[in-house]
């Protein structure tokens, strides 16, 4: 309990202080103990030092005699003064410890009583006074008188400050502001110790106290001196720290100096040993090598003369001692350890054999590596050994000629050198170094202490003064008196403190003004916001009517309400809203709302264009924005209503005076006008949107109706499409049926041709026999026959000839249909051909009263088959002669026009003619106009059919023009050069007797559908779809589309057989009909 270190637990300091503050009635430790326990850990270091001086003061302690001397100085501060742990903001605690409770004077009591004594005194002069002074009734002058034991404390507490009773004040009452526990508070905590030091009359403490110095120097005086005295612990702390640093530096520098010197001495000794050994080994090389003592005397003597060499010896390579000296004291040289020399030699030889030293480094390496030393304490020396190694390689020039035969090794150990190196000089030097180090350390310590004293004073005094000034400022005294007459940083800090206080005063004053202004501004702004909110609510009100159609009346109501709110918010007399007429944007403004004043007071409606043209200008000459064009005309404040840079009207406010309104009002009005413009625009837009919605609804209804119609049409189209689909399917089925029929017809035709060919052959063979024998009989080869018999035979011959011709024609027709008719094209003189044919045919018309005429130029040539053309012409001319009993038969050949590269041959007669409805019949096989013609004119009915087939083979066309009763004209259109496809056509016809169905089957329904869908002909559809359409089949030429016979004659067509050739032809209107093939 009496050990102060036991009370100085640093961890207990703050906790105990807090605990004591929360338990006011509890006893707080013994005052003696409280002084002995520093509140900060670092205070424990100087405390023992200081306690050694004022030991007599410990006897002055009223209690606890066992307390340490250093702590006894605090006994005077153990008076039960009011303790409130001021620096920590704790409530005052009575500092009256029970003397019979030594336990309480332990670690707990220290922290509670130590600050109390000091802070209680301090606070009476600063914070407490500021806080409590205004309520003197709460203070008491009956402070505990125990403080009278401390002169200093008694003066401060009794004469300057009343002591506050702990039970009369609470922390909250006495300390409106929390007091920070900073440096100043900690310094105040040291005051008790300072006072204790002073009262303890410690000479060192008194000497170390800066208060005395300050008083003597006159820097502080009066209560400031007292404050300095109380706070001088800071000075002591700084001083002790500096002193400790100085001591540490002096001791450290001395130790470092000695350590370095010791190292230097040791290194020097090592170098000296190597040097000596090296020198001796080198100088002894020859002597050791030769084993000659005389050669060793010189170097050994020189070595022994050195001051620090005690003895020298050299051994040869076998370990034998060659030479040695005695010690300096005359004693014999101590012998080396037994076997040491041999061991050194062995090691050296091993090194030189194993490790090959480089040339030139041999000496140093051997000495440094193989050196051996032993401490000889008796002689105070080092016993040094080194091998003597010689190089047997030597210089290059020598080795070139004198290389030894013994090549066992390059280097050889020839001996050992021994030197006794004295340590006396080194020890003397170390002793000297130690003495110098100690002296230097002491000198540094003295200098450091002196410097620490002055530096601590220089540092602590101004800082304490600054701390006092800071306390005053903290307590509200903004006029602190800080006396620091320094020009260094502390002086600058003091000046800064003073300026800071002045600045603080100014700032506080400015803050007060700003606070007042701010409150008034807040009120004003609050009212404006409220009115603006009302204004905005009015503007937004039409938008809320979502389902109703807004109209002009609603807009007027909204404007009235908004204007009323605006007038009230701005405090103006009234105002109005002028808007542009929607139907006349360029017209005059119309009054739409007014509030507070009549429309008459508002004045005439201004011209919006004039108003905008007169708006102010920017510095660059351009007019300001429309929204910025606010003007004051008389008492009227005119603000444009602009929405999206489009002027809508004007907002007019009647000012109370003609003075220029405040900019804030103008800005507010500008923003209000913008909102109003938006509201007006929104209202109009809403109206427009409503109208548009109505129109849109109507249009939607119309569109719905149209959509129904379209849907019905689409259904119809779908139905039609289905029908077309059915038709297409039907067509496809018909196409299949037609293909089947075509194949059947082709087969039938083939069978017919085969039958005809077979029958014709079978008929012609016996017919030839009949005709031959008949002709033999008729020529009376078998003997004379009668005239009747000759006539009969002639009849037989004629019938046979007819029958043979018939058979030949059938054979030709069969050959053509069977594709066995060959065509040979050649250059043909048409005039010669026609002449030959006419000459041959004239035999038939010997009984005719006319002759066949020919009109053909001589230079008309054509490339064709002459036989086939001759057969065609023969048939045509024969028919013409046969059916022309009177009149003329004219054969005419001529060129076509320039566009037609063809030759035309026509056979014109003036015979019986052909009715128009019979024109297509004459080209069919076995067909004549009627059966009577056959009986009358003869013929098989195959001639024209064969002619047509032959013309087709030649690429020609055979047409007929006829007028019943007048005559007929058969015309052959013969190409000048045969078409290449002619042969193909002939072959095609050979394989496909029905060219109308020669298209591929898939094409037909596709073309039919396309034609039906586009309402076009089948030919157009084929052209559109790039599908070749086959030529029409002559057999189908009787169809309405394929027939080209135009005959208007209603009279029946006489047949050749029935019409009499001599009978005059009835008068008819000759109509030229053309039968195209």
């Amino acid at each position: 309990m009496n050990d102060p270190r036991a009370d100085a637990g640093p961890s207990a300091v703050p906790q105990e202080g807090v605990q004591a503050a929360t338990e006011p009635p509890a006893p707080t430790g013994h005052p003696n103990k409280s002084d002995s326990s520093p509140t900060e850990p670092e205070q424990r270091t100087p405390a023992p030092d200081l306690s050694t001086g004022p030991a007599p003061a410990a006897s002055a302690a009223p209690s606890t005699p066992a307390a340490p001397a250093g702590l006894a100085s605090g006994a005077d501060s153990a008076e039960p003064t009011a303790v409130d742990a001021a620096s920590d903001g704790h409530p005052a605690v009575p500092a009256v410890p029970p003397e019979d409770d030594p336990a309480a004077a332990g670690s707990v009591g220290v922290e509670k009583t130590t600050p109390s004594a000091g802070t209680g005194t301090r606070q009476t002069s600063s914070g407490r006074t500021a806080a409590v002074g205004a309520e003197p009734a709460q203070t008491t002058s009956s402070a505990p008188s125990a403080s009278s034991k401390d002169p200093g404390a008694a003066v401060s507490t009794s004469s300057r400050q009343p002591v506050v009773r702990p039970d009369s004040l609470s922390v909250r009452d006495t300390l409106p502001l929390a007091q920070p526990q900073g440096l100043a508070s900690r310094l105040r905590d040291r005051s008790t110790l300072d006072i204790a030091d002073e009262t303890g009359e410690s000479p060192l403490a008194a000497f170390l106290s800066p208060a005395s110095l300050l008083e003597q120097s006159g820097e502080v005086s009066g209560w400031g001196s007292l404050l300095m005295r109380q706070r001088s612990s800071f000075f002591r702390q700084v001083f002790l720290w500096l002193l400790a640093i100085s001591l540490l530096m002096s001791v450290g520098s001395g130790a470092i100096y000695y350590s370095r010197q010791l190292t230097f001495v040791q290194e020097d000794r090592e170098q000296r040993a190597e040097l000596l050994l090296g020198y001796l080994a080198t100088q002894s090389e020859l002597g050791a090598f030769a084993g000659d003592r005389v050669l060793l005397e010189g170097p050994v003597r020189r070595m022994a003369d050195l001051q620090d060499v005690i003895y020298v010896a050299v051994y040869d390579g076998s370990g034998r001692e060659l030479i040695k000296t005695g010690t300096r004291s005359g004693q014999p040289q101590p012998d080396p350890s037994p076997g040491l020399i041999n061991e050194l030699l062995r090691r050296a030889r091993q090194e030189t054999e194993v490790v090959q030293p480089r040339r030139g480094d041999l000496f140093l390496q051997s000495v440094s590596r193989l050196r051996h030393q032993v401490q000889n304490d008796k002689l105070n020396c080092l016993d040094l050994y080194a091998p003597i190694v010689i190089s047997e390689r030597g210089t290059a020039g020598v080795t070139a000629f004198l290389y030894p035969s013994d090549r066992s090794g390059h280097d050889r150990v020839v001996g050992v050198a021994r030197v006794g190196l004295s340590l006396a000089s080194a020890n003397d030097r170390l002793n000297e170094v130690a003495r110098w180090g100690a002296g230097l350390g002491l000198l540094l310590l003295v200098l450091g202490a002196t410097a620490a004293y002055f530096i601590a004073g220089r540092i602590s005094v101004p800082i304490l003064e600054l701390a006092r000034g800071a306390d005053e400022i903290r307590n509200g005294n903004l006029h602190p008196r800080i006396h620091v007459n320094r020009s260094d940083e502390l002086g600058m800090l003091a000046e800064s403190f003073t300026r800071m206080a002045e600045r603080l005063r100014e700032t506080m004053s400015a803050l007060s003004r700003l606070n007042r202004d701010l409150e008034s501004e807040v009120k004003r702004r609050t009212r404006q916001i409220r009115l603006a909110y009302a204004f905005t609510s009015v503007l937004n009100s039409p938008i809320d009517r979502s389902d109703e159609v807004i109209d002009a009346a609603d807009l007027t109501v909204m404007l009235d309400q908004a204007l009323a709110a605006l007038v009230e918010a701005t405090g103006t007399k009234g105002g109005g809203v002028f808007l542009v007429d929607d139907n006349n944007p360029d017209g005059e403004l119309l009054v739409r709302a007014a509030s507070g004043v009549s429309t008459h007071t508002l004045g005439p409606a201004p011209s919006l264009r004039t108003f905008l043209d007169q708006r102010p200008k920017n510095p660059d000459g351009s007019p300001v924005a429309l929204t910025e064009a606010v003007q004051v005309v008389g008492r009227r404040l005119l603000v444009p209503l602009v929405f999206r840079n489009h002027p809508l009207g004007l907002l007019v406010l009647m000012l109370s005076s003609e003075e220029m309104p405040e900019p804030a009002l103008v800005e507010f009005m500008r923003q209000a006008a913008a909102q109003l413009a938006i509201a007006v625009s929104n209202a109009r837009a809403y109206t427009r949107v409503t109208q548009l919605a109505s129109e849109l609804r109507q249009r939607n209804e119309a569109l719905a109706a149209q959509r129904d119609q379209v849907r019905a049409q689409r259904d119809q189209l779908a139905e039609q499409r289905n029908q077309l689909e059915e038709q297409r399917n039907q067509l496809a089925a018909q196409s299949i049926q037609l293909r089947i029929q075509r194949n059947q017809l082709r087969e039938v035709n083939r069978l017919k041709s085969e039958f005809l060919a077979n029958v014709s052959h079978e008929l012609r063979t016996p017919l030839n026999a009949i005709m031959g024998y008949s002709e033999l009989i008729h020529d009376q080869i078998y003997g004379p026959i009668s005239v009747d018999a000759q006539d009969a035979i002639a009849g037989v011959l004629a019938s046979s000839a007819n029958l043979l011709r018939l058979i030949n024609q059938i054979l030709d027709l069969s050959r053509i249909e069977a594709g066995r008719m060959e065509v040979y094209f050649e250059r043909l003189d048409l005039h010669a051909l026609c002449t030959a044919v006419i000459r041959e045919a004239e035999a038939m018309g010997r009984d005719r009263p006319y002759r066949v005429q020919l009109n053909c130029p001589h230079d008309l040539f054509v490339q064709t088959d002459s036989v086939k053309l001759q057969q065609i012409l023969t048939n045509l001319i024969a028919n013409a002669i046969k059916f022309t009993s009177q009149g003329a038969v004219v054969v005419e050949a001529y060129d076509g026009d320039a566009r037609d590269d063809s030759v035309y041959i026509s056979v014109k007669d003036t015979g019986i003619g052909i009715r128009a409805e019979h024109l297509e019949l004459i080209f069919e096989e076995f067909r004549q106009v009627d059966g009577s013609s056959t009986r009358r004119y003869g013929g098989t009915g195959l001639g024209l059919a064969i002619a047509r087939r032959l013309a087709e083979m030649l690429g020609a066309t055979l047409t007929v023009e006829s007028t019943f009763g007048v005559g007929s004209t058969f015309t052959i259109r013969l190409p000048r050069t045969p078409p290449l496809r002619n042969a193909h056509r002939s072959r095609g016809r050979e394989g496909d007797s029905n060219p109308a169905l020669s298209m591929s089957d898939p094409d037909i329904p596709r073309l039919l559908l396309a034609a039906g869908a586009a309402d076009m002909s089948l030919a157009d559809a084929a052209m559109r779809h790039h599908t070749p359409l086959p030529l029409p089949n002559p057999r189908t030429a009787n169809s309405p589309q394929g027939s080209s016979i135009l005959h208007n004659d209603p009279t029946p067509v006489p047949t050749h057989a029935t019409d009499e050739p001599s009978a005059p032809s009835p008068p008819v209107n000759p109509t030229t009909s053309t039968k195209g093939i």
Binding site: E285, L286, F289, A290, G291, D292, V294, L295, Q356, I390, S391, E392, R393, G394, T395, A396, G397, V398, T399, A400, F401, L402, Y403, P404, S405, R407
Partner: protein, 338 residues
């Protein structure tokens, strides 16, 4: 006058016998394909099982390098060169190649000792202690030329101390007559090695009083005018040379060395052939042996042609009080002054 080979490179007249020999051997020389004209320093050529000529030289010495270069210039055949380094691989490779080479050339005593025992003929140079019967080129001049040169430098020289080991004793004995022919006396000190040589010299030149008393007279070394170091590898080493040079300085006794390298090291003088001449003579010997191995006697001459050079250390001579002004201008003299 001695004969010279056709390609010896020396500008000296050819004797009629040598010319006749050249005429006889030239066709054979040209007929030997292995001895082509592609002489040079050991590169190129068709691959063979082993080199025709293998040259092994001691490394790290300038004299060896100069002899090798001169040999390269004079040798007419392709040869392979190996330098004995510190690496064991070099030695093993040299031994391996030596087994298959036709002719071995050793430059330096270590190289010669390395090749001793090989089957092929060995031709040496710069080897002071060759094996008996070996063919090579000796560098040191005959003793008579040495003593004559010494007499020219120091005419009052009469007593010459020669230290010899058992191995070099015959040379000293042979030189004794030469010295006597020049009016000099050769004092022979026989020792067993370098250490005994040092002790003997110390007792001669630096006797202790006890030794003087024991000898009973003044030191005999006081009557010695010069010390002659023969080419005795058993005797001469670094320490002996160092001690002899020390005596040269302390006792003003000139040291006649065996080679010019020792003169560079500090000896007063030496008489020997320059390395270039040694290399050329070595090449001539090799050429002759390759050409006619059956007549080794033709190349048995162990000295290069011409006269040796007298090499004098001017610094040492000045310390001994010898004037070299005349010697500087004589042909065949080489004064080292550095």
């Amino acid at each position: 006058m001695e004969s010279r080979p056709a390609r010896s490179g020396l500008n000296q007249p050819m004797t009629p016998a040598l010319a006749l020999l050249a005429l006889v051997t030239l066709p054979q020389l040209l007929a030997v394909p292995d001895i082509g004209m592609d002489s040079g320093g050991g590169g190129g050529g068709t691959p063979r099982p082993g080199p025709q000529v293998l040259l092994v030289r001691t490394p790290g010495m300038r004299a060896v390098q100069e002899v090798t270069e001169a040999f390269s210039e004079g040798c007419r055949v392709q040869f392979q060169q190996i330098s004995m380094g510190d690496s064991p691989n070099d030695l093993a490779r040299a031994r391996e190649l030596a087994q298959s080479a036709r002719l071995l050339v050793a430059v330096g005593q270590p190289a010669l000792e390395l090749l001793v025992g090989a089957r092929a003929h060995i031709v040496y140079a710069l080897a002071p202690d060759p094996p008996s019967g070996a063919i090579g080129t000796n560098t040191s001049a005959p003793p008579v030329q040495v003593f004559r040169a010494l007499q020219q430098l120091r005419p009052k020289t009469h007593r010459i101390l020669a230290i010899s080991s058992e191995r070099g004793h015959h040379r000293v004995m042979a030189a004794r007559g030469a010295a006597r022919s020049l009016g000099m006396e050769l004092i022979d000190v026989s020792v067993t090695g370098g250490d005994t040589a040092i002790r003997a010299l110390r007792e001669l030149f630096l006797p202790t009083p006890e030794e003087l008393a024991r000898a009973g007279g003044p030191p005999s070394a006081g009557q010695v005018d010069a010390i002659w170091l023969g080419a005795d590898p058993q005797l001469i080493n670094m320490q002996v040379l160092q001690f002899v040079l020390r005596l040269q300085i302390q006792r003003s006794v000139p040291v006649i060395a065996a080679t010019r390298q020792q003169v560079y090291f500090g000896a007063m003088m030496a008489v020997d052939w320059p390395p270039e001449a040694v290399g050329r003579h070595l090449a001539w010997q090799v050429n002759q042996l390759l050409h006619d191995p059956g007549h080794m006697e033709l190349v048995a001459r162990d000295h290069p042609s011409g006269t040796p050079e007298i090499v004098v250390n001017a610094h040492a001579a000045r310390r001994l009080g010898i004037q070299l002004e005349r010697a500087r201008h004589h042909a065949g003299w080489k004064v080292i002054d550095r």
